[in-house]
Symmetry: C2
Subunit: 155 residues, 2 copies
DNA sequence: GTACTATATAGGAGTAAATCCTATTTGTCA
DNA sequence: TGACAAATAGGATTTACTCCTATATAGTAC
C-alpha cells in the first residue's frame, strides 16, 4: 500500500508519452523536445521533485535547457492535467492558530483560504501499516478549487 | 459549517493568551512582547495570513518589529503547537505525474514525499454545502510526520 | 518542400519569500 | 540585582521563482 522504489517500464513510458502527445494536441500546445523530456523525466521518478531537482537532472542530457523552461513546463503539465503539485508545497506559508479540528479549502485563483468543519473528516482511519512505518503528526482532508467570488467574476 | 467573518471576543482572546503563556513556559520559551503580539494578532484574524501580511499588520502597532522576527516566531508557534501551516503552502513546489488516485505522506524532517493508496480515501464524501458554494477541483487526504528513516536517525 | 505565424525557449535581469549573520537587548532565574 | 542564555533588529544573502526580450521552432497553409 505504501509505494516504494517505483520504476516505470519502457512500454508504459511509451504509452504514457503517446497519451501526453495526444493531450498536448487536444489543448493546442506544441509538442516540443523540452516538454517531452520534462514529462518523461517526471514519469521516471517517484521522488516528487522540485523544479530545481528536475533542472539538475535534465541538464545532464539537455545541457542547454533553461530553469525557466522547466518551471514553466511543470506548471503547464499541472494546468493540462498531466501532473499535480503535492499538497504541502507551493505558494508562501500561510498560518492558522485555530487548533480545533477543522478543514481547509483553498481558492487557487485568489489564494483565499476558507475553514470548514465536517465531523466525519475528523475520524477518518489510517491504514495500520502507515501508522507502523511513520510517526503521523498531522492528518488532514484538504480541498482546492475556485471560490464563489472568483466563480462569479469569471462570468 | 463553512466558517466566515470570524471574530474572537476579548474574553476568549485573554483566555488563549494565558494558555499561550503557559505553553511558552512549559517549553522553556521566553514570553516576549513580540511573541505575544504575533500570537494575539494571528488569533484575531481568519484570513490565514502569510508572514508578510502579519508583518504589515503588526508594524502599525510595533513600528520596530522585524520581518525576520515575524517569520521566526510563526515557525516557533507552529513548532510549539500553537499554530498550523495551511496545507497548500510552504516549501518549494513538488511535482507528481502519477494521476491515479493516491495519497501523500510528507516527512517534515527530510522533506521526502511518500505515495500511498488507501481506497476508502478515494471515496470520502464532501458535505453538500461545500459543493454548492465552491467548485472543487481537488480533494485529498494529506499526512505529515516523521518517516521511518528519520525516526531511526534520531535515536 | 517552403513560407508563415503563433508559440516556446534560452539566458539574463528582476522580484518575492525566507533565512542567515552579528551586534545588541531582554526575559528568566539564581 | 546581576548573569546569561535566548531573542530581536536590521541588513546581507540565498532560494525559488517570474519576467523580459531576442531568437528559434512546431504546426499549418500553400
Amino acid at each position: 500500500m505504501i509505494k516504494e522504489n517505483y520504476t516505470i517500464n519502457s512500454a508504459e513510458l511509451e504509452k504514457k508519452t503517446e497519451w501526453f502527445i495526444g493531450k498536448c494536441r487536444e489543448k493546442g500546445l506544441k509538442v516540443t523536445p523540452q516538454r517531452l523530456a520534462i514529462y518523461r523525466e517526471l514519469m521516471k521518478t517517484d521522488e516528487h521533485p522540485s523544479a530545481e531537482m528536475m533542472y539538475n537532472k535534465l541538464r545532464q542530457d539537455y545541457p542547454g535547457i533553461s530553469l525557466d523552461t522547466v518551471n514553466r513546463t511543470l506548471i503547464t503539465l499541472h494546468e493540462m492535467g498531466a501532473a499535480n503539485i503535492v499538497e504541502g508545497s507551493g505558494d508562501s506559508k500561510r498560518y492558522d492558530c485555530n487548533m480545533d479540528e477543522h478543514q481547509h479549502f483553498k481558492c487557487i485563483k485568489c489564494k483565499k483560504i476558507y475553514d470548514f468543519h465536517h465531523k466525519p473528516f475528523d475520524d477518518i482511519k489510517l491504514p495500520p501499516n502507515i501508522n507502523k512505518k511513520f510517526k503521523i503528526l498531522r492528518k488532514t482532508v484538504y480541498l482546492e478549487g475556485i471560490c464563489d467570488i472568483c466563480l462569479e467574476e469569471n462570468e
